[in-house]
Every structure is written in C-alpha cells, then in structure tokens.
C-alpha cells in the first residue's frame, strides 16, 4: 500500500515537472532574445499632425504626395457658403532618402509660396531605453507674389523665410502620443520696424487613437511674448485622421489659413471665438519608388 502511494506521488511529481518543463523552455527562449530591442512604431499616422509636422519621416524610397486644402472661414456667411466657396491649397511631395532623412518640396497658393524642407530623425523611441523620438526640421520658403513693397527696393533675399524646429514626441500608450515642438521662424523682411524678424514659438499637440485606423488630433502653437504675440493669435487646430491603407485623410478645423510654418505660426489673425474657423483637409498617398 505504502509502495503504491509512494509510486503515485512520484508519478504525479514526474507529470508536474514534465508539463512545467516546456513552459520553462519557452520562458528560457523568450529571455534569449538578441540584444536589439524593438523600436516604437506608428507614433503618428501621418507626417503632419494637423498644420505642423510630426516626428514621422517617410521610409527609405517612399514618395509621399500631399494635397492640403483649407476653405474660407465659417463666419463668412451664406453668400460665401460658409467658406466653402474659397480655397487655399498646397501641393507637396516628400521623399525618404533613408529611413531617417526626408526631403520635401511644396507650393502654396497663399502668396504663391514655394517651400523646401529637410527632416532628420535623430533619435527613435525604443521599447526599452530611449524614451523619445527626436526629429529635426528645417525649411526655406520663397514668396513669389509680384513685388509687394513699394517703399523697399526688390531683393531676392527679402522673399525668403526660414523655419527651424525640434520635434520631440513620445508614444505613451498604443493610443496616446504627445509631441512638443520648439520653433524659430526667421523672416528676412517684415513690413514694420517694430515687427520681429525672429519669432519664437512652442508647439504642443497629440493624438488619441479612437479605433485602429482613426485618431483624434489636437495642435497648438504658443507664441513667446513679443510684438508678434501681441498682434497675432496662437494657432489652434482640432481634427481627425482616417487611415485607409496607403492613404491618410486628415479633416480639421483650424484658425490658420496657411499650411506652412511661416503662415500658421507668426501671421495668424483668425480667432476661434469670432468664428474665424477654417475647415480643411490633408490627403496623403504613399508610393514606394524603391524597395528596401
């Protein structure tokens, strides 16, 4: 009898250790991963949050075609069909030279402006380790509207504006990503001597994922105290991203008419409370020109 009990106990012990062994083997395997930890993917759906850029760059060999459109203000009344009769448009192309470096060009109908930019992803958020993604952004814009200042002799440099921006973002959870963007906009020519050539601002924004393919986004640019901050308004935009495979549709309401930094940061006159709200959208489409 004792023998049988002992044997039964032994048998149970063997069964238990046997079934545990495999779990242990799998656990062992999971700890034996190669040292490279995974980087965070999909901090934002698109290369734009709403008006401003996000930390996202195109992958190597990917060409992104971006159509951005803003209608007139909501408060323009029935005669203007609440802004839908008017349109401001920017067409842009962005190409990923490497996974980190993107070069882009664009043309805005507002003041017939061409712009070119470089975007470089310096740091990439990691699952373990690096807590943020840091992308550096710089752009040059050329206003090609017929010469506009009767009192100033025309010089090419007067048409140029530069933007320098550091985009810092963190994907907090799989739904929430936040971004902060210290920005400098330098204008070579400003209308009045009291106006600032250098305008400093801090952008802040984020996204909340509603479903796998739709997000709610908000973006705000705070102008640092100075003449520009006194005369103009901070940019506030709210919108949604809808991703459908190769396209991202971004629908938004914003108090900014322009779609490049020199317009929506230092020269923003619209007020949300007065109904100077522009309805707008960005549509992006990605073409893979060169496969990895």
């Amino acid at each position: 009898m004792i023998k049988r009990v002992a044997f039964f106990c032994f048998f149970c012990l063997v069964m238990v250790t046997k079934s545990q062994a495999q779990d242990d083997l799998l656990k062992l395997a999971e700890t034996q991963d190669s040292a490279r930890t995974g980087h965070t993917t999909g901090t934002f759906k698109a290369t734009r949050l709403l008006n401003g850029h996000t930390v996202q760059t195109n992958g190597a060999g990917a060409l992104l075609f971006l159509i951005s459109h803003r209608f007139g203000t909501l408060n323009s009344g029935a005669y203007e069909f609440w802004g839908l009769d008017q349109a401001t448009i920017r067409l842009g192309l962005e190409y990923g030279l490497t996974d980190q470096l993107t070069v882009g060009v664009g043309r805005s109908s507002l003041e017939k402006t061409y712009d070119g930019f470089l975007k470089y992803k310096l740091l990439q958020q990691q699952e373990a380790g690096m807590p943020i993604t840091l992308t550096l952004f710089t752009s040059t814009a050329i206003k090609t509207l017929e010469w506009f200042e009767p009192n100033v002799e025309e010089q090419f440099k007067y048409r140029l504006t530069y933007t320098f921006q550091a985009l810092v973002a963190r994907k907090l959870t799989d739904r929430v990503s936040l971004q902060v963007a210290p920005t400098l906009v330098h204008r070579n020519l400003v209308p009045l001597s009291t106006d600032e050539n250098n305008v400093y601002a801090v952008g802040a924004g984020g996204r909340f994922k509603l479903t796998k393919r739709t997000t709610f986004n908000a973006e705000y640019f705070y102008l640092l105290p100075g003449a520009t901050a006194d005369q103009f308004r901070n940019s506030l935009s709210l919108g949604v991203d809808i991703e459908t495979g190769g396209h991202v549709f971004q629908l938004m309401a914003t108090n900014s008419q322009g779609m490049i930094e020199q317009f929506f940061i230092p020269s923003n006159a619209g007020s949300w409370s007065k109904g100077d709200i522009y309805f707008g959208f960005n549509i992006s489409r990605v073409f893979q020109l060169k496969e990895k």
């Binding site: 062994a21 083997l25 395997a29 700890t31 034996q32 999909g42 799989d174 893979q288 496969e291």
Partner: protein
Amino acid sequence: MKKRGRMLLLAGALALLGPPGVQAQGKYMTRTGYISFFSKAPLEDIEAHNRQVVSILDTKTGELVFSVPMKAFQFKKALMQEHFNENYVESDKYPKATFKGKILNLQEIDFGQDRLYNLQLEGVLTIHGVERLLKTNATLDVKGRQLQGRANFSVTPQEFNIEIPALVREHIAKRIDISVQMLYAPFQEKPLRP
C-alpha cells in the same frame, strides 16, 4: 523493500538532474533563426523576413519552442511594415508569437547519426494572443553538432482574430505561407546583461 530502495535511488537521480547546469544537456538553440512569410494577392504580393527568431530544441524530450519578435519582421515597404505592426498583429500588445510543441516521432531520430530526418511536429502556435493547434511536417538535417530544421505551413489571418477591413480585403491574401529555417547549435546560456 528492495524496490523502494531502487525507487529512492531513481528519485535521487532525478533530483540531481534538476540544477540548471545539467539541464542544458541535450538542448540545442538558435537566436538567429529565420522565418519568412509570403502571401499572394490580386493587387500585390506581401513578403516579410525575420532573422531574429529564438528556438530551443530538447533532443532528450523532443520538446521544441519558438519565440518570434514580431517587430523584427522586415518588409520591403516601410508603410506595410508599420501597418503590419500597428493594425494587424498589434505588436505593442502582443510583441511575440510563440510555438511550443514536440517531435512526435522522436524515437526515429538518432542525433548521433548524420542524416536527413523527417519530423512530425505538433504543438500550440500563438499569434496575436490567440492559441491554435498546429500539426506539420518538418525536416531535420543532423550534421555533427549542428542541426538544421526546416518547415513550411500556412495560416489564415482569421484563425488568429486578425481583422482585415473590407476596404483592403482585396490587397491581402486569405492564406499566408510561412517558411521556417533554423540552424541549431548546442545550447549556451546568454551571459546576463549588466
């Protein structure tokens, strides 16, 4: 009494096998195993490669496990890779796919004899947090102290609750062919990271 004595001896021997140093005997491992998948769809073929698969094979028990880091799958198109991780397998939530199973015909394999063996495998495949029973054939090429394992099988996104929206259903094939190639070497535990 004699029997019980023997039993005790056996129990003692088993207890001795317990310590981790001894446990490693008979185990083979790779940290750079290769898994690729391919799906043919009307619009475009989808293909991805992963060379960071960890797998351990216990030649004594026939147990076989795989740990597959999902973010290590490399696609030719950056956007496809992002959508794979963000929309389909949800790599943030389910960072690894695993397989734990065993060789059913272990007695037919002599790990001391260099030859190509046919294996029958059975076990649980976990992708996207969903467990499914997988039964497949594989081959094992024994070459001295190296073992080369190969297997091919198919899965469907549906059986792992991977939802494909109507809008892109035409772009993604119903069936996904998976190919596995592992080159095992005798197990050596990775030194602990500081």
